[in-house]
Amino acid sequence: MTDLLRRLLRTPQGALGLLILLLIALACVFGPSLAPHDPERMNILGRFRPPGAQNWMGADQLGRDMLSRLLIGARTTVPLALLATLAGSAVGASLGTVSAYLGGRWDEAIMRTVDAILAVPGLLLALLIVSTLGKGGGNAVLAVAIAFVPGMTRVTRSVALSVRRQDYVSAAIARGEGGAWIVFREMLPNVAAPIVIETTIRVAFAVMLFATLSFLGLGAQPPAPEWGLMVSEARRYLHQAPWMIVSPGLAIAVTVIGFNLLGDGLRDALNPRDDR
């Protein structure tokens, strides 16, 4: 594990991605104590105040401090995206490996179902689920997780198929191991590297998907300081107060870039042949 971290830090993308994510994690943990103002305190006199000494990133249409809202909003945006991605990846990875292991008709049945779900765009699927189950953060997590399962299943299966043909899997079958052992102990560790990389990149998608859901009014509800929701509210005042849309937009972009860079770094660090 420490070895992996060292190799990760040796790649420029990995080091930069890790640094960005560390800053975001700090914002998630210490956000409320770092915030200079109460994120929900309105100030009629300070409406649309441009960035300056009083409000470092300006104020919104109700005079709320943007910086404080961003710092506290990190808590609702990033962990939820992470949770949804992890849930979706775990289910997808298991399903993909099982499908590759079983092969034949089972493989056919699982993969055709996955293909059918994959034909529906992720956002549309998430919208469908949220509108069926109702608005709210928890349902949004579920929706994003389900939307991620088919893609993850495909990625995992393609790797697991080549692992399935390896002799160590044959050896396990020949000595009479059960299916669960072969899938989770023999095969899954050997497909982990692409899964981990795909997951980090997908966290970035999840952040955007959450922001989009909130933007469309189906995720977090006002007055919650969720980043996507903030963009959505700021849209109306785009010409009046551009800082209102720039700062949450930038926060989303930086988070996405951070996870993408980490994914790139992990891809290099997890390459087992690169031991020299």
């Binding site: 044959s170 050896a171 009479g176 023999e186 031991d275 020299r276």
Partner: protein, 528 residues
């Protein structure tokens, strides 16, 4: 003395790696006289192929050449630029690679690839080159060369492709041809025919050759002189007969001793009575049965054989003869037809193999890289069968000791071991179950000769200790004749012969078996 065709003098080659320079070749000096064939023998990693690339001046970007000279006739190849080398490669030095499938361009016809060489180096026009190409193919004993010229590489067999490569190497009448393991990728009989062809062509043209191989017996048949390469150094250089009959250097002696010789039996005892396991009419089909389309491919059919307790049954045949398919059926890795008799029971499907059968029949695979899970330590690889078959994790050090590995290896990962060590771990895993029969599927063919000898020795020692029977699958007939009690010969999924090893030289063997024996390289030292 005439000037040598190729003169390599004090040549040293380093590869720049992240861990610092790695010395691939160290002070190598070789000379090849006109019309002479020099055999270059060494194990994997000894720098054989690096030398071939150095002569062709096609080294990778991280190569550094601190010292030495390579001269072709009077010219120094190391001073040539790429343009000048382009006129020499193919024209004055020909090359034949190991894998004919990889050295031919799959998108061009065989004829086009052959005439390209002729047009470029001999200045022939297209029609003349085509005629000359057909002539060249006829010289390498290919049937119907006109039709072959119009075919693509995938429409020709491996042997035909290698003949085309040889034809194009000889077509420009070069001074020197470099052969890099030209028969390794081919099966035994095809390889032997290619070798005969090579000898005849060489006598006709008088070209000099550098013949690179890991197979001592093979080199002894084609080369006049042999150089032995060990870790980038030439340790011995002498006439072929001298090297094989009176090797001077200890490394050469070890190499020569490690080559299997059928007359030197390693197993003297007789197997027990009765039947340990009996396969009756076993057949395997690959692919799913579909409603429309062709019937599934048959991997093996109608195979009946029995293994006695403690017996070593050798299974030989070319690639694709169904040897491994048989192994997969016996270990329940492939659905099969027919039945397996074991301990008074009849097994008709992989699902019918209970824990007792799984424990009794173990398998060791060809490639140790693929058969050990790279994410598990050696300790947990060995622990699993122990736990599954009621052993204790405490016996891991004993298992490692039995396969002559230090107990500390339990903490290592497979990629930290050498090929031979990995194969020992795979053997230890099979023996963790305390089996009655171990199916060895080509377990030594990816190993060097000396490592192969030590693995065989280990298997025999384990057999003495535990009385295990082996189903020993290999393409090396000489090896089988050293150790097996009986030999089964397979061809195209069928069993053509099953007889005691001593009867192989007898009169009533299948013609195919006789052909196989004739094609197996004459062991070194047996003939001057």
């Amino acid at each position: 003395m005439t000037r040598p065709v190729l003169d390599v003098a004090g040549y040293t080659l380093d590869y720049a790696t992240r861990a610092g320079p790695y010395r691939a070749l160290d002070d190598v000096s070789l000379q090849i006289a006109p019309g002479e064939v020099l055999g270059l023998v060494g194990e994997s990693g000894s720098g054989k192929t690096s030398l071939a690339w150095a002569i062709m001046r096609a080294l990778p970007g991280n190569a550094i050449e601190p010292a030495g000279a390579i001269r072709l006739g009077a010219e120094d190849l190391m001073r040539m630029d790429q343009r000048a080398m382009g006129a020499i490669r193919g024209r004055r030095i020909g090359m034949v690679f190991q894998d004919p499938a990889a050295s031919l361009n799959p998108t061009l016809t065989l004829g086009r690839q052959l005439t390209e060489v002729l047009e470029r180096h001999r200045g022939l026009d297209r029609a003349a080159a085509w005629r000359e190409g057909i002539e060249a193919l006829r010289r390498v004993e290919l049937r119907d060369p006109e039709a072959l010229m119009r075919r693509y590489p995938h429409e020709a067999s491996g042997g035909e492709k290698q003949r085309v490569v040889i034809a194009s190497a000889f077509a420009c009448r070069p001074e020197l041809i470099v052969f890099d393991e030209p028969t390794t990728a081919l099966d035994v009989i095809t390889g032997a025919r290619i070798l005969d062809l090579f000898r005849r062509l060489r006598q006709e043209t008088g070209v000099a050759g550098l013949y690179i191989s890991h197979d001592l017996a093979l080199v002894g048949r084609v080369a006049g002189r042999v150089a032995v390469l060990q870790r980038g150094r030439v340790v011995e250089q002498a006439a072929a007969a001298t090297i094989f009959q009176a090797p001077a250097h200890p490394y050469t002696r070890a190499l020569v001793d490690a080559v299997p010789r059928p007359e030197r039996r390693l197993v003297r005892d007789e197997p027990g009575d009765g039947e340990l396991i009996a396969a009756r009419d076993i057949g395997v089909r690959y692919g799913r049965r579909r409603w429309f389309g062709a019937a599934p491919v048959s991997g093996a059919r109608g195979i009946s054989l029995a293994v006695r307790p403690g017996e070593i049954l050798g299974v030989v045949g070319e690639s694709g003869s169904g040897k491994s398919t048989l192994a997969r059926a016996l270990t329940g890795l492939a659905p099969f037809e027919g039945e397996i008799g074991f301990a008074g029971r009849r097994i008709t499907a992989p699902a019918g193999m209970d824990a007792a059968y799984r424990r009794a029949v173990q398998i060791v695979f060809q490639h140790p890289d693929a058969s050990l899970n790279p994410r598990q330590r050696v300790g947990s690889i060995l622990e699993r069968p122990l736990r599954l078959y009621g052993g204790e994790a405490a016996s891991i050090p004993r298992l490692l000791e039995e396969v002559r590995l230090p107990a500390g290896f339990a903490r290592r990962y497979p990629h930290q071991l050498s090929g031979g060590e990995k194969q020992r771990v795979a053997v230890a895993r099979a023996f963790a179950a305390n089996p009655a029969l171990v199916v060895c599927d080509e377990i030594t063919s990816s190993l060097d000769v000396s490592v192969q000898a030590s693995v065989i020795e280990l298997l025999l020692a384990l057999r003495r200790q535990h009385g295990t029977a082996y189903l020993f699958i290999t393409h090396d007939l000489n090896l089988v004749r050293q150790i097996a009690h009986r030999v089964a010969v397979m061809r195209q999924g069928e069993l053509v012969d099953l007889l005691p090893t001593a009867a192989l030289d007898g009169a009533d063997v299948h013609p195919y078996t006789r052909e196989l024996i004739a094609a197996s390289p004459t062991p070194v030292g047996a003939r001057p």
